[in-house]
């Protein structure tokens, strides 16, 4: 395994990376997570993992719980601090800094990465004290400095997109789980991110509400949003993903275009995982 040299220029590559069907030809990867290692105390969660994602492609990360897939996703926008490695999003490069000795300039760099890589959480994390519309305009106004009227117009556009225009003035407490997650997706979209990170977006949902969320996500994928999706929903991976990665014990075991990985897994660990998942 090679390590990233300071400065972000690295020889390490994600061996499974390939441009997606919608990726403009010649475009370089928009997300690079290179040689990430993550320790929680002595627990080695990520073991030198690299992921490269091209513009306008959707990749799914699958694997058992505890395999490191959510940790990898959360490292990309620094909700987790990698112990070792480099993150690059849309040309912004930040090195791991496990000692949290960052300068203000560096922290600003991370904030810029977060603006470009919006996270959709398993638990939605809508702001319960703000109405749906206010959830959607808070960050555009406060963070991006968008004028209020324009922020509202954008928010209404994305609310319509997720099919929830009529919930504009409700508080999140009045919404179902599926509606909450669709609002959360709309909230992420209002920031006009370069990439959407989905952290098990349907795992907290009642089974009857999963479909409406996956439908919105599949639409986004087909429209060419760049998406990294941690999920247990194999049907979604099959329908929407350019590539599916199988992660086990902090490394990618294999990755392939969706039907290939799901139908003809090569590694016994992948086969074992899929057999268990698809049966339930």
């Amino acid at each position: 395994m090679t390590t990233a040299s300071p400065g972000g220029d690295s020889t390490a590559q994600d061996p499974f990376a390939a441009p997606g069907v919608l990726t403009p030809s010649g475009a370089p990867p928009i997300v690079r997570a290179l040689d990430l290692e993550k320790f929680y105390g002595s627990n080695h969660v990520l073991r030198g993992i690299s992921l490269e994602v091209y513009p306008r492609e959707t990749v799914c990360l699958i694997g058992r719980s505890g395999s490191g897939k959510s940790t990898l996703l959360r490292c990309i926008n620094f909700l987790e601090e990698p112990t070792v490695g480099t993150i690059e999003v849309d040309g912004l490069v930040v090195e791991a800094d496990p000692l949290h000795a960052r300068s203000a300039r560096h922290r600003e760099q991370i904030r810029q990465i977060r603006l470009r890589a919006q996270m959709v959480f398993q638990e939605f994390n809508l702001f319960p004290h703000l109405k749906v519309i206010d959830n959607l305009i808070e960050a555009p106004i406060r963070v991006k400095g968008v004028p209020r009227s324009q922020a509202i117009a954008t928010a209404e556009k994305f609310l319509a997109k997720v099919g929830l225009s009529e919930k504009r003035d409700e508080y999140p407490g009045r919404l179902s789980g599926g509606q909450k997650q669709r609002v959360a997706i709309a909230r992420a979209l209002t920031m006009e991110p370069k990439v959407l990170l989905f952290d098990e977006p349907t795992s907290a949902l009642d089974p009857t509400l999963v479909g409406e969320v996956l439908k919105v996500m599949a639409e986004l994928a087909h429209e060419g949003a760049t998406m990294i999706v941690v999920t247990h929903e194999m049907a979604f991976a099959r329908e929407a993903a350019d590539r599916v990665y199988f992660i086990d014990e902090g490394v990618f075991v294999e990755a392939a275009p969706h039907s290939e990985l799901l139908d003809n897994p090569r590694d016994p660990r992948t086969r074992d995982f899929l057999a268990r998942t698809l049966r339930t």
């Binding site: 909700l79 810029q112 977060r114 638990e123 702001f127 004290h129 960050a139 407490g173 992420a188 920031m191």
Partner: protein
């Protein structure tokens, strides 16, 4: 005698589920009503007995109270004004104190911790006298109202600091992550996302503090603020009628705390029914 096997209780044979549900609800209602009636009857007896006991001392001078009640009760608005003003400033002290107690900057954390430790480690009455008697030695003579509010809010602010600290920490971690993911700075996250939720979490506790404050506001009578207790004490001692005036004052404090407890109950119920769930 052994009851016949076919007996189905008071509803008799063949009662449908609706009749049973109705009967159960009615019996519950009745039990609740009976409990309440007995509660009030017991209070009536106890409070009546207490009133008789107080009356039997022969030290309650009603004509005297009649003359002085308007003056003594005139202290109620001042008591309430002191309490409301002090809880307001105490809340501000508490927010600042809590942010300090959660700060990772050592001098800020140290300052906030010292504030809480010092204020909680000394008697309120000493703090009240400090403002009233010690500060004038340095030429700082504050108007009674301001001095009273200063002592109370400084003191309560320290206790409420810990309430707010707990409230801020009770806001789910996911809220902070969502704000961070949206690119909000730590300061924006605290001001726009965490504090509004923390305040809702601690409102019941602030209510309790406010009710305690109404009673503790009696201590600022020592800064010569003419609130309820000062008036009762002054009138009572100058006419050798302390028993009458203090009983009156005690009744008023009791009444005030009951009223504000009811207000607080209503507020909590409204919050529980609100669409805003944290």
């Amino acid at each position: 005698m052994v009851a016949p096997v076919a007996s189905r209780g008071p509803l008799g044979l063949g009662a449908g589920p609706e009749a049973i549900i109705r009967a159960v609800a009615a019996s519950r209602r009745q039990a609740r009503l009976r409990f309440r009636l007995i509660f009030f009857a017991t209070w009536l007896v106890l409070v009546g007995g207490l009133a008789l006991l107080i009356g039997s001392t022969g030290r309650i001078d009603l004509p005297f109270l009649g003359t002085w009640a308007p003056f003594i009760l005139g202290g109620i608005p001042i008591t309430i004004a002191v309490s409301v003003t002090s809880i307001f400033f105490a809340t501000i002290f508490a927010v600042i104190g809590a942010l300090g107690r959660l700060s990772r900057v050592a001098p800020i954390y140290a300052t906030a911790t010292l504030y809480v430790s010092l204020v909680r480690g000394t008697p309120l009455i000493v703090q009240v006298f400090f403002v009233f008697s010690a500060l004038p030695e340095f030429g700082v003579v504050l108007p009674a109202f301001i001095a009273g509010c200063l002592a109370l809010s400084f003191n309560y602010g320290a206790y409420m600091t810990e309430i707010f600290r707990a409230g801020i920490q009770a806001v789910p971690r996911g809220q902070i992550e969502a704000a961070a993911s949206l690119g909000m700075t730590e300061r924006q996250t605290m001001r726009r996302i965490v504090l509004p939720q923390a305040i809702r979490i601690v409102i019941p506790a602030i209510g309790n503090e406010f009710i305690a404050m109404i009673k503790d506001s009696a201590l600022v009578s020592f800064v010569a603020l003419q609130e309820l207790f000062w008036r009762a004490r002054t009138v009572g001692s100058s006419h050798f009628q302390s028993f009458s005036t203090l009983v009156l004052a005690a009744l008023v404090y009791w009444g005030l705390t009951i009223v504000f407890s009811l207000v607080q109950e209503r507020l909590e119920k409204r919050m529980a029914e609100s669409d805003i769930r944290i």
